[in-house]
Symmetry: C2
């Protein structure tokens, strides 16, 4: 199965598929300035927590590569500014901060390794390589998540997802959609129920498009149909991605996920979170500490530029938090974690 | 408080506000042919179970009034055809069938009252009066529902609703919004949380517009935000309308209502259904027997004529069923019914 590539490192620059234009137009931008990569993250040209991590890594590599600095100190000062700018793009996705932290550590390693003249070039080459490593690790993590997750699904069923936790969201085969892809490759008969995911329509625009490209059967529904289908629609499992997972397993994901989890539990439908360990934030004891991004009201009162409501006040929290007690299991690249998550997730990170 | 009038009987014909054009355009159509009234119901120019009942009544009155029949038998044959056509417009809203049944009974009464020549005119005048009586009863029922419901709300809170159970949906002050209007008139400090209600956007287009006209504060949200706000948004109560209520209290209402009810219960937020007794269908023991209208896929894959997804399969159940155990109380014009509903609802209908 050949899945779409939302981001790619090339010698000309970072090539990013513009997800704000899908499915109507398939447009790739080539960015040569890290500031444009930051803007692409902020404006959701690229989105999805793992893919944001890859984009941040490539943005930093691009910034360092194109820097005119001749000494390590000058380069470090520029690098710190790049990190700060990228850190301000999306507050909820922890992979962003994970990638920035990893690059900060790698920068220091590379600058220690070689304090001779020429150290600047060594750092440049090292960080460009690191960005590609991050991307490659992401791909491998997705495949492992997919394999672990597929084992949890019934051989023939409907699977509900939310938003887009697919190739477009990770740069690999996807987390939630990676589980579905691996199941389909393994001969399972799967039909995917795709909530459209207002206000940005990642379900209708991205997940429907991505599954359609891979000829995986799907039914598109509006977000308020999830309850009806969980009650009457023969759904065998819900599989979603994650933007940040607290130590106790509480999970921030696209707005609507919490509601799906509550209704799934009421109807005894297993609810799975599929996410790489980079999505874990062990510094947060519970989900209550996860910052929730508020986006513009206009994205609610308008749809693709067209006003759909009178001129009224709207709210736009982009994520919600699903308490761990609604989560049947968390599928990671190191295996399947079950409650109590504080323990099982800790073990997995230690296994790394 | 002077609320909008979605339907009005005039000497020129039935005047109906085109709800498919709101909030962008405020257009009234004057229908002189009952077939146009049937088409207006089917295409949702007028919608909302109680308003559909009023429209069906006025449609029948219009049809009988403009009939060229000179004898009672001829008029009856035409009347039966009118009833059949109207019965095929919307399958879930029971008020439609309630109105048709009431008109059939009234037709027979009027034809018995007077078998002399001139009976046709007597029937015509009688059914025109009956349509106005139905409308007037609707207005009075809304006011009583509003008063009973307001007593259940906290004096200062956020109230979540769903779809539009307002003046536009009933021809009075609304059922769910009638409760809110009566509370606001009584000095309560209410802010209404309005889910946009895809695919037709009755929340964003109609409820937001209607509340805005009356200067009642509101916050518009997308349908997948209901969980987040029920968990964290200080919601004091949910109040929704109903399209059909079974004998045991199971309630069919706009798609999404079931999910809201489940999440409300999880968060200990009272969940109220506000509906006139005409919405009761005592012939159905439970909600499982309520027919659920399937509307076109295009209403999901498109938004106001603009394609928003690739060319994929979509589902469009227009209603869902909320089991009685999630309903804190059902507010009717005869008072507030509580579980067990089989008993309490029966008592209320007997009180009529």
């Amino acid at each position: 199965m050949r899945t779409v590539e939302p981001i790619r490192w090339t010698s000309e620059g970072v090539v990013i598929l513009d997800q704000t234009k899908l499915p109507g137009e398939v447009i790739y931008h080539t960015y040569t300035d890290y500031r444009d990569v930051a803007r692409a993250i902020k404006s959701m040209v690229i989105r999805g927590a793992p893919a944001i991590g890859v984009a941040a890594a490539m943005g930093l590599a691009l910034g360092v590569k194109s820097s005119k600095a001749t000494g390590v100190e000058g380069l470090r000062a520029e690098f710190v500014a790049m990190c700060e700018m990228l850190a301000q793009t999306r507050p909820t996705a922890v992979d962003l901060f994970w990638a920035i932290d990893r690059f900060k550590r790698r920068f220091e390693e590379l600058s220690r390794e070689d304090s001779r003249e020429g150290g600047v070039d060594r750092i440049r080459a090292g960080l460009v390589a690191e960005a590609q490593t991050v991307h490659q690790e992401r791909r491998e993590a997705d495949e492992r998540i997919g394999r672990y997750g597929a084992e949890l699904l019934p051989k023939s069923c409907r699977v509900m997802t939310q938003c887009n936790a697919g190739a477009l969201a990770t740069g690999g085969i996807g987390t939630a959609l990676g589980v579905i892809r691996m199941a389909v490759e393994g001969g399972y008969r799967i039909e995917v129920l795709v909530p459209e995911t207002r206000p940005y329509l990642q379900g209708a625009r991205l997940t429907a498009w991505e599954l359609n490209q891979d000829r995986i059967p799907l039914t598109l529904i509006t977000d308020n149909m999830v309850g009806h289908f969980l009650k009457t629609g023969g759904v065998g499992a819900v599989v979603v991605g994650a933007d940040r997972i607290a130590r106790n397993g509480d999970t921030a994901n696209k707005i609507g996920t919490y509601g799906i989890a509550v209704i799934a539990k009421e109807n005894k439908v297993p609810f799975y979170v599929a996410a790489p360990l980079s999505t874990l934030d062990l510094s947060l004891p519970t989900g209550e500490q996860i910052p929730i991004e508020e986006r513009s009201e206009e994205e609610v009162t308008h749809l693709r530029g067209m006003r759909i409501s009178p001129d009224v006040h709207a709210a736009h929290p982009a994520f919600d938090v699903t308490p761990a007690r609604f989560i049947t299991a968390i599928i990671t690249e190191r295996g399947v974690a079950r409650a109590p998550y504080e323990e099982s997730l800790k073990k997995m990170t230690e296994a790394q």
